[in-house]
Symmetry: C2
Subunit: 374 residues, 2 copies
C-alpha cells in the first residue's frame, strides 16, 4: 500500500493511495457500509457518487452474517459486490457504543450482542483475524474507546492498553501486497497524551495512522487544536485517517490540518431521516415549506436526485415514509460529500484550500430548523 503525495498547500495534501483493490484519491471520504451495505444504495450507485473506498463494521459483521461465513463466500468485497478497496474497523468502538459491555481486561473485551444477547470476546488477535477473514484492504487495530470526558489517570491507563493491543495486532497481522494495517492514536483532548500515543504507534510502525476518540461531543475548535498538535507527529509518507468525522465543516478543517481519510454515517443516516446537505446548507425535507416547491433540492448539484425530482416530490416521499426518499436523499448526500472531497483535492493543487474550506464551512453553518408542521 503506497501513498503518493502529489501536492500540498500548507499542511493540506492531496495524492493517491494505491491498494490491491484500486486507487483512492485523497483526501477521501469513505461511505459507511456497516452491515455489508451502504444503506439504501446499490454498490453501483455508491461508485457513481465518486466514492472509491467504503467502510465496513467488524462488530456488526462478526455477529451477522459472521466472519467465517463471509470468508467462505469469498470475502466482504465479493459478498457485497463492491469492487474497490474496503477498510474495516476493529469493532472496538461499537462494542462500547452498541453492545452490552461486560468487561475489559488486558486480554480483550467481552460483551453481549445487541441482536440476541449472545456472549462474545474481542481480542486484538481476534479483531485482526476477523478482518483477515473479510479480506479487508485496510485493517484497523483494536483500541479501547473510553467515554469522554474522563479522568486523566483513566485516559493514561487506557492509552497503555491501546498501545499494548496495537502491538499485538501488528504481530497478528499478515502483510499482503496492497493491503495495510492502521494504528489508532488515542489520548482524548490532552495534547501530551496524543503525542505520547503518536510516538508509541510510530515506534511500532503501521501502514497508516488513524485518530480515534474525536468528534465525540467536544467543540470543533478543540478537535482542530488536537489535530494541530498531533498530525505533525505522524509520518508524512503514511495516510492519516480521522475516524467517524464528520460534518462538511469538520472535514475541510481537518484536511487543512493534514488529514487524508474520513468516514461518517452522517450523509447516509441523514438521508434516511429527510436531511439533505446542500450548497445552501442543511435542509430538512420534512418541512412544509418544501411541499409545493417545484425546484430541485440543490440547483448546483448534478446528482440523480437533483436532476430528476423536485423538493416537493422529495418532501412527499419523506412524509409518506417511502423507501425511494431514503434512496434519493442518501444518493444526494453521498454525492455532495464526494463533491466536497473533489473540491478539496482541486483546491489543494491550486493552493486555495483555506478559501475553499471557509466557503464549505459557511454553507455548512446554514441549517434549517429540524421540523415544522406540514
Amino acid at each position: 500500500m503506497k501513498l503518493t503525495v502529489e501536492a500540498t498547500d500548507g499542511a493540506a495534501r492531496t495524492g493517491r493511495l494505491e491498494t490491491a483493490h484500486g486507487v483512492v484519491h485523497t483526501p477521501a471520504f469513505m461511505p459507511v457500509g456497516t452491515a455489508a451495505t451502504v444503506k439504501a444504495m446499490t454498490p453501483e450507485a455508491v461508485a457513481a457518487t465518486g466514492a472509491e473506498i467504503v467502510l465496513g463494521n467488524t462488530y456488526h459483521l462478526m455477529l451477522r452474517p459472521g466472519a467465517e461465513r463471509i470468508e467462505r463466500l469469498g470475502g466482504l468485497r465479493t459478498f457485497m459486490n463492491w469492487r474497490g478497496p474496503i477498510l474495516t474497523d476493529s469493532g472496538g468502538f461499537q462494542v462500547m457504543s452498541l453492545a452490552k459491555l461486560r468487561g475489559v481486561t488486558d486480554d480483550g473485551v467481552t460483551f453481549r450482542s445487541h441482536l440476541d444477547g449472545s456472549a462474545h470476546t474481542l481480542t486484538p488477535e481476534r479483531a485482526v483475524a476477523f478482518q483477515h477473514a473479510f479480506g479487508s484492504t485496510i485493517t484497523m487495530v483494536l483500541d479501547e474507546c473510553v467515554r469522554l470526558p474522563t479522568e486523566r489517570a483513566t485516559l493514561e491507563r487506557s492509552l497503555d492498553l491501546t498501545h499494548a493491543w496495537a502491538e499485538r495486532c501488528k504481530r497478528a497481522y499478515v502483510a499482503r501486497p496492497g493491503h495495510g494495517l492502521f494504528g489508532i492514536v488515542q489520548g482524548g483532548t490532552e495534547d501530551d497524551l496524543r503525542a505520547r500515543s503518536a510516538a508509541s504507534l510510530t515506534a511500532i510502525g503501521f501502514d497508516g495512522y488513524a485518530l480515534g476518540g474525536l468528534a465525540v461531543g467536544e467543540p470543533q475548535a478543540t478537535m482542530f487544536r488536537v489535530l494541530d498538535a498531533t498530525v505533525p507527529l505522524l509520518p508524512a509518507d503514511r495516510p492519516r485517517y480521522l475516524m467517524g468525522v464528520g460534518k462538511p465543516s469538520d472535514i475541510v478543517g481537518a484536511v487543512l490540518r493534514g488529514i487524508d481519510m474520513f468516514d461518517c454515517v452522517l450523509p447516509t443516516r441523514s438521508g434516511r431521516t429527510g436531511q439533505a446537505f446542500t450548497h445552501a446548507g442543511t435542509l430538512n425535507l420534512r418541512n412544509a415549506r418544501h411541499a409545493d416547491d417545484a425546484g430541485p433540492l440543490d440547483p448546483g448539484c448534478a446528482c440523480p436526485a437533483c436532476a430528476g425530482y423536485s423538493r416537493a416530490y422529495l418532501h412527499h416521499l419523506v412524509k409518506a415514509g417511502e423507501i425511494l426518499g431514503a434512496q434519493l436523499l442518501t444518493w444526494h448526500n453521498l454525492h455532495h460529500y464526494q463533491v466536497v472531497m473533489a473540491g478539496l483535492r482541486t483546491a489543494i493543487r491550486e493552493r486555495r484550500t483555506a478559501a475553499y474550506a471557509a466557503a464549505v464551512a459557511t454553507e455548512d453553518a446554514t441549517t434549517e430548523e429540524p421540523t415544522t408542521p406540514s
Copy 2:
C-alpha cells in the same frame, strides 16, 4: 389511444397500445406505484425491468400529496419522473379496503382517510377530475366494489350503481389525443351479471374495458371461468385489463383468455418481505437454507440482483432488514414479471402460448415454505 393487435393465438393476442406518452406492448404488466413511487425502485430501474406503463392509486394520491398539488407540480408523470404512460385507478377499491367507509349513496361514497381520519367524498365526477389533475394517460371509472361473497340481489343493485357511475364518468371525462377512459365490468362470479355489465358498458362506449372484482379470494378456476364467459363479450379493438391480478399463473391463464393488461402489488410487496419469484418457483429469502448459498437467486435471470449477488447475501440483507434487500428483490421480481410478459408476447406470435403458459404455471406452483428458523 389506439390498440393494434399484431398476432393472435386462440383468444390470446399481442400488439401495441399507442398512447400520448409512449407505446405499451401487450400483454403488459403495470408495476404499482401507489403513492407516486414504485416502492424501493427509481423510475430508471422500473424502466430497466422492461415496464412501459405504471399504475398510480387515486385514493392515496388525493389524500397525500393531493390532486391539486400534483396538478400544480406538472402532473403525476412529471412529479414522479416517469416518462411513460400512467394508468390511475378511481379510488373506489381502496375506499372499500383501506378507508373507514361512511356510506355509499347514489351520488358517491363518503369515507375517512386512513392517514388522519379526515372526511372525504368520492363521486364519479370527482374521481375523473382527480385523474385529470394527475394528467393520467388512462383514467378508470369509479365503480362500487362490494365485498364477495354477497347475495345476488346486493350484487345486482351494486351493478346498477356501477353502470350509472360509469355513464357519469364518461360525461365528466375530457377526451384528449392518446389518452383514454376505461370502464370496469363487475358482476362477481355470476356469468349472467358479468354479461349484463359488459353489455351496459359497451353500450356507453369506452377506450378500454377492465374486469374488476376478480382474484379477491375465489378459486383460480372460477376466475378463469368468468374470463371465458366475459372476455368474448368485449370489443376486440379495445384493450382488456384484469385489475389487481396476479400470480404468474393467473396472468398466463388470463392472457390465454384474451386479457391484455395487468397490475398487481405482488412482485413489489413480496420483494419487501423477502419473497422472490424465480424460474424454480417462489423462494423465501428469510429461510436459513440460503444463508451459505453462494449461487444467484435465479440462474436463469439477467437482472442486477441475480447478476451481482448471492442468495447468501440477499438472505443476509433480508434478515438484517436492510433497504438494499427490498431494492434488489423488488427489482428482481419486477424483472421476472416482465420476462414472463415478454415470453407471452413471443409465444403468441409463435403460436405456442398454451405450452408457455403451462410452463410458467408449473414454475409458479413451486412455493417454498414461508419461513424456517435461521
